[in-house]
């Protein structure tokens, strides 16, 4: 809706909510990017800093919750305004989880920072994370612009992430069979890959919320899923 409210302070509060979501999303996106960069470089110091910075994301979620509750109490929002505020609450919860996954990647990076010889799977993880970062950026743009079509595109792209995750799962199992010394780092890499896959799911959920915010209903149909890791078996040679 392009027209402004008669009460200008209402518009100001709604854009404040949107700005906070944008800030939180930007931080979550950056945390994921930095976590992957630290993993690729085995940089324990950078990883520790990422763990520390997650607090800011958590604090932002609390602030967004407070603002949303205040808006509901004061303005008694209806229709598109109500949907915008409820969506803000849900999106903030998803972004907070994304921040947690980035933090967990960083923690595992500290644990495995001495591991070598797993360049292959790590670069696959980085590629997968790059895709997910692009999805975060696009879904945030879609949220700010109230662009449901763009959000729907993001939702459809999650299957690429799923596909990479399934392949990576198989690859890591193979590394573990080849050399038992790989088991510890590979297990952590499995969790890291799973974390990124889960981030993709949260981004998808945000995309669905954006669709709801714009149209008042969730997107129709099951979203495409390609994560086959739950069914993957690799037999010893």
């Amino acid at each position: 809706m392009d027209k402004n409210h008669i009460v200008h302070s209402y518009d100001a509060e709604l854009s404040q909510l949107q700005n906070m979501i944008a800030e939180m999303g930007g931080l979550a996106e950056m945390q994921l990017a930095r976590a992957i960069a630290a993993l690729v470089k085995y940089d324990a110091d950078a990883a520790n800093d990422i763990v520390e910075k997650d607090r800011r994301i958590d604090a932002l979620e609390d602030e967004i919750d407070e603002l949303a509750v205040r808006l509901i109490a004061k303005r008694q929002p209806m229709a598109s305004d109500l949907r915008t505020i409820i969506t803000g609450l849900k999106v903030a919860a998803n972004l907070e989880r994304i921040g947690d996954y980035a933090k967990n990647i960083a923690k595992r990076t500290v644990t495995i920072s001495s591991a070598t010889g797993l360049r292959g799977p790590i670069s696959t993880i980085a590629r997968m994370a790059g895709l997910v970062q692009g999805m975060i950026k696009n879904v945030l743009d879609a949220y700010i612009a109230h662009d449901a079509d763009k959000a729907d595109d993001v939702r459809a792209r999650d299957q690429e992430v799923d596909q990479i995750h399934s392949g990576l799962f198989r690859e890591l199992l193979t590394y573990m069979m080849e050399d038992p010394r790989n088991i510890t780092p590979c297990t952590h890499l499995l969790f890291i890959a799973k974390n990124i896959e889960r981030v993709g799911d949260h981004v998808t959920s945000v995309a669905e919320q954006v669709h709801y915010m714009v149209h008042g209903e969730l997107p129709l149909g099951e979203r495409p899923k390609q994560d086959l890791s739950s069914f993957t078996l690799v037999e010893p040679k």
Partner: protein, 269 residues
């Protein structure tokens, strides 16, 4: 589980029957040459509360006043189209507007009790319509109406005192008692809470929900929150047109027309 079933069946008993009580077709209103309302088509289900909302001058009160032919009393006012109640056009040649107004009661914005006792306020309608055979029967009707309007406990010891001595909220409930004393089928309410404080408003809203079991209620309100709280169906009027009508749940979360959305979110006045 048994309790849940009981609760559900209790709710079902007051659920709308789906029967159409009133049906407006191509209703328009002219004040002289000015066209205040255009081509309204709308159905009203029995035992529902229907809210009419919209900015001042949108035609919602004009439409409400068509339903009991109150516009007939305004010089220069002309109503076109038809409104059927139980299948009979209330603008038909055989319809006596005075009798119609006993079937379609009305409650106004400002409580307007007669300068008479509480008892006589409620007894007035049944008396002029000859609906009570004697004093005992009239007493019964008055008690029933005051009970139904949630005023009996507060008024039973002061029935002979003037109605104007009651508080604003009590006066409005007295006016509701007066309206229902003649056993109408439909009650029209024109901003019934706009002169009341929040507590008195809540009592009226609770009463509206109770009265729905026995009557069909059409309410004009400037409070969107009130429309959302009390009604099952909401209609939005703008500049003399019925823009959109639908289930209240849908109108306030996902209105179809951009004008409805703009109005209920506070973007147009």
């Amino acid at each position: 589980m048994a309790e849940i079933n009981v609760a559900l069946s209790a709710r079902d008993s007051s659920a709308p029957t789906g029967k159409i009580k009133l049906s407006a077709r191509n209703v328009g209103v002219f004040y002289g040459a000015a066209n205040a309302l255009r081509d309204v088509n709308m159905d009203f289900e029995e035992h529902q509360v229907i809210s009419l909302i919209g900015p001042s001058g949108c035609g919602k009160s004009t439409f409400l006043r068509c339903i009991n032919r109150m516009n007939d009393t305004i010089p220069g006012c002309r109503v076109v189209g038809s409104i059927n109640m139980d299948g009979t056009n209330i603008y038909g040649p055989d319809i006596d507007p005075v009798e119609l107004r006993a079937r379609v009661g009305m409650v106004f914005q400002k409580p307007n009790p007669f300068p008479k006792s509480i008892y006589d306020n409620v007894a007035y309608g049944p008396r002029i319509h000859g609906m009570a055979a004697g004093k005992a029967e009239l007493d019964e009707v008055v008690e029933w109406a005051l009970r139904s309007a949630g005023l009996w406990e507060e008024a039973k010891d002061r029935l002979q005192q003037p109605g104007t001595g009651l508080s604003g909220g009590q006066q409005q409930r007295l006016c509701i008692a007066r309206a229902i004393a003649v056993h109408p089928e439909v009650i029209l309410m024109d901003e019934p809470c706009s002169a009341l404080d929040p507590i008195a408003t809540a009592k009226i809203e609770e009463l509206i929900d109770e009265l729905r079991r026995s009557f069909t209620i059409i309410i004009v309100t400037h409070s969107m929150q009130q429309a959302a709280r009390v009604s099952q169906k909401t209609a939005f009027f703008h500049m003399g047109n019925l823009v959109e009508e639908g289930p209240t749940d849908v109108i306030f979360t996902k209105p179809h027309d951009p004008r409805t959305g703009a109005y209920i979110t506070g973007r147009i006045g």
